[in-house]
Symmetry: C2
């Protein structure tokens, strides 16, 4: 393995195949769980960091079957034609269970995956959601340092991964099928409120349903999202598109551009990123503290019985918490 | 101060004025920040716990001016007429700033506050939201052990206190004014999804607007809440009422009873409480860990500069988190 600084140089200034290899090596280093690799990874990241932040970070979520891959392929090729370089990263919350990512499967995006101006990386295949999100966040920085100016982070609309994706991107898009209304249970709690934009895909399959869904979601967004605060002049929008027929991609990107312009003009883009970075730092600190806590011998000795007692209503939850915290301190 | 066990006995078996005094003493003990009091408080709580859990716990939130007090007074008197004993507790997230609770002001509920079958307790007036919520949760147990079979926990619809209230009650009700639609920015992110029931108060002031609001919110709830999972057969409902004219209170309580029946029949009420107790234990553990972390000398020495570096984009957030966690461990 090259030194972290040499690798950073290759990521930034390499071209074509050598650069792709350097990016892959860098991300592999970041994903390693070996302790000595972690120190090198931190060195690499710190070297790359000044060269990041120029890209636009687009988050995208939707249930399986909504057509994310087809849409990302169409969008990616459209953006490349406009002169952009596009990186696609994936967070698959199930990958740690299945041991591999089906989402990041490059064969899903046949044309984009072989394009020299695109870089596609599947989800890290092990670890907690927090760990997977951390690796993806770091991989995003590598891609930015390598000059990809549009980074798309996709996730599947099950589990908590949407919050993680919205927490690392400049704009969060939720893809929906046209059958809105009673059948929309698939939208997880809290996810709709993350959406800066809702895209109704496969609108051509049932145009009437798509129109109804657009009206319903628009009305619901008005009730559920706090405009005038988080997003400035931007009011979350609902668009129709058909990735398969390649319609709506230009309107989609026009909306993204409008959002980006408004946010940048109001200084919200930078504010959102600062806030995300701090929130991320604390998220990792809390995960680390909790892990240390759970591994403490005194806690491991007490936790099972106290959990049973709290669940059974024999012990107040706050008393149990105090016992556990005290046990850890006294035994330290 | 009596012994915790004697106090528990007075809370449970006292009558009239002596019992009220015991309740007040018990809650004051629970709210004390003195370390020796905390041990007594834990003893008191553990003694009371077997005698709790029989009450129905109703959470209620709404923005200032929505008419919560007037409604709670009407509801409380209605329930007392049905033979219930009613306790009203308040979580005011601003009380730690203002140094006192305006929400719990007994003069807001003139008739209920002097009724022998009602007990009203204002918000604890100091501490973080987590601390205030903990005290309220414990006060709720005291009231239950004293035989109050309906406990209403109210909060004002600003801040994060709705999540805390929903996390300690069997049913969460959101009160709204009839001017739904574009003006509903006041609904905080994630709050609508907590609602098992939405009550549109002051419906008589603008009946047309109330009907529109009811339709809009019903439609939005259908899109945003995950029925069929958390709530079983219950689909969140939207009711109109007028607390001032005392209309709709019976329909409101009928809906609460229906919810309660469905939840109890499906075993969800107990499951929800077990889940709440465990979540609460972990919430307090995490708060304790974070507080210890922030007070650690090595962390205090590093945190300000690392925070600045992360905000400025000079240091990756995950690297900063690792530095801080390592500093704490090495210095221990």
């Amino acid at each position: 393995m090259n030194s972290p600084l040499a690798l950073a140089e290759q990521v930034r200034c390499g071209t074509a195949v050598p650069q792709r290899r350097a990016i892959a090596k860098a991300i592999t280093l970041l994903e390693s769980t070996r302790t000595d690799h972690r120190a090198q990874a931190d060195e690499l990241l710190t070297a790359l960091l000044p060269h990041t932040g120029q890209a636009f970070r687009l988050g995208l979520s939707g249930v399986p079957g909504v057509g994310k891959s087809t849409f990302i392929e169409a969008l990616g090729l459209y953006l490349i034609a406009l002169g952009h370089r596009v990186a696609v990263l994936t967070i698959d919350p199930s990958s740690s269970v299945s041991g591999g990512s089906i989402l990041g499967d490059k064969t899903r995006m046949e044309r984009l995956s072989v394009h020299e101006k695109a870089y596609i990386r599947p989800s890290p295949s092990s670890g907690t959601l927090g760990g997977v999100a951390e690796k993806t966040r770091e991989a995003m920085l590598v891609c930015e340092a390598a000059g990809y100016d549009i980074v798309i982070v996709e996730t599947v609309g099950v589990g908590q991964s949407e919050t993680a994706v919205a927490g690392m991107t400049d704009m969060f898009v939720l893809m929906q099928l046209p059958n809105a209304g009673d059948d929309l249970q698939a939208i997880k709690k809290g996810v709709m409120e993350l959406a800066d934009l809702v895209a109704i895909n496969k609108a051509d399959l049932d145009p009437d349903a798509a129109v109804r869904a657009q009206a319903q979601i628009t009305s619901a967004l008005r009730l559920f999202t706090q405009h005038g605060r988080d997003r400035g002049q931007w009011m979350p929008q609902v668009l129709q598109l058909s990735a398969l027929r390649n319609t709506g991609v230009d309107a989609f990107w026009a909306a993204v551009d409008r959002f980006r312009g408004i946010q940048a003009a109001e200084g919200r883009l930078q504010a959102r990123r600062r806030q995300q970075a701090l929130a991320w730092m604390w998220e990792r600190i809390e995960a680390g503290l909790k892990q240390d806590f759970r591994q403490h011998p005194a806690v491991q000795a007490l936790l099972p019985q106290l959990t049973v007692d709290v669940e059974a209503g024999r012990l107040p939850a706050s008393t149990a918490a105090r016992h556990l915290l005290a046990a850890r301190t006294q035994a330290a």
